[in-house]
């Protein structure tokens, strides 16, 4: 949404915007309340979401967050919190499109450099199930596609 505001300001110069040009704003306003609500729920439940995702990962693949004798849990946690926050922000401002350019493409190269694609793939798959416990179905409908995008880019 925000990335569409600038072109609107630039292009609608000395005239009234057309309905088509205002469509994205209408769409945003229709979902704004849900976005704010989901954003705050994510914020309040962040610690629990991360803990539950970690629990589920440990149950599925106990050695996922280890490399030999090295425990990668703390690093995983820092990375996952960062992704969750960027995704929540994209949800709030409905800026899913620029999430890749702002963050995910860079983070993808970093995750690849640490060969963390498999752990990312599982993390953001599991996270979709976990966040559904905290969000209404409508809120999850808005948020989960963003996590799918994160999984798609970071998991390969």
């Amino acid at each position: 949404m925000l990335s569409q505001l600038q072109p609107l300001v630039r292009e609608v110069d000395g005239r009234y915007a057309t309905d088509t040009e205002l469509m994205f704003l209408q769409n945003y306003l229709q979902t704004a309340r849900q976005r704010f609500s989901a954003y705050h729920k994510n914020q309040a439940a962040e610690v629990d979401i991360i803990r539950l995702v970690k629990q589920k990962l440990n149950a599925t693949e106990p050695h996922l967050l280890r490399r030999g004798k090295v425990d990668l849990s703390a690093k995983w946690q820092r990375d996952t919190i960062r992704v969750l926050r960027y995704c929540a922000h994209a949800l709030l401002v409905a800026d899913e499109e620029s999430l890749g350019e702002r963050f995910l493409l860079w983070f993808q190269s970093i995750m690849r450099s640490f060969k963390a694609q498999h752990s990312c793939d599982l993390t953001y798959k599991v996270m979709q199930d976990v966040v559904r416990h905290y969000l209404t179905p409508e809120e999850a409908e808005l948020f989960c596609p963003i996590l799918v995008q994160a999984r798609l880019l970071l998991g390969q």
Partner: protein
């Protein structure tokens, strides 16, 4: 092109710990009153058109003929060496750790990101043969090859020099680089081989004899197995 300078970047000063700063609007700072463009790391940048790249390459070829390839390689080599020193400074400043202490792949990805933001293309490094003393770099969307189009021969000498210069400084060992596959030969991406001079000379010979990138890869790997 960029040359290290003392230009400051307001966003960087505001958010020194931000690492994902490669969006066009964040990475570059346009100083209208001075007519300059600075990037996140304080380098001076100049935006050029494809016409400029064509003019540069064709002009150089007109001046020095076939030696233009060697000239572009040498420019890249010096650029890479200087950039390695510059990178050392900004990496340490941004991550509060010296490049020697960082994970190698993380270090290399971090080095290349400003180039991606500047429009030099994305890359992928294949380090599988590093212990054997050579490695491959795949480059997607080379600014030079994309501009020249399909001309039936490799054209990314500037990049080959850049990689040779950067890695030579980084590992403190004389390395050479050759482009063994190029978008300008009708391929989908460019491929570079980096290694000791004798190995690169051998690859250049095979390439002249008509070998493909795959032939060269196979040959190098089978030699190692002997």
């Amino acid at each position: 092109m960029d040359t290290p300078s003392v230009l400051s970047h307001r966003l960087r000063q505001q958010y020194p710990q931000k690492h994902n700063h490669y969006r066009f609007s964040e990475f570059f700072q346009f100083n209208g009153s001075e007519g300059t463009i600075a990037d996140w790391n304080g380098s001076r940048n100049v935006f050029t058109s494809e016409d400029f790249i064509i003019g540069l390459l064709e002009g150089l070829e007109e001046e020095v003929g076939a030696a233009s390839a060697a000239v572009m390689y040498s420019i890249g080599l010096e650029w890479g060496k200087q950039d390695s020193l510059f990178f050392h400074q900004w990496f340490e400043r941004e991550f509060s750790v010296s490049p020697q202490q960082a994970s190698l792949m993380f270090l290399l990805e971090t080095w290349w990101w400003p180039f991606t933001a500047q429009g030099w293309g994305r890359w992928e490094i294949d380090m599988a043969d590093r212990k054997q003393g050579f490695m491959f770099i795949n480059l997607f969307d080379s600014a030079v090859a994309r501009t020249l189009g399909d001309v039936g021969k490799p054209v990314c000498y500037l990049y080959a020099g850049l990689y040779a210069g950067f890695f030579t400084e980084m590992v403190r060992k004389q390395l050479s680089c050759i482009e063994i596959q190029c978008y300008s030969m009708g391929e989908t991406y460019c491929k570079f081989l980096l290694g000791a001079k004798d190995r690169i000379d051998a690859a250049a010979f095979w390439l002249n004899e008509g070998a493909t990138a795959a032939d060269i890869e196979n040959r190098l790997r089978s030699e190692e197995q002997r």
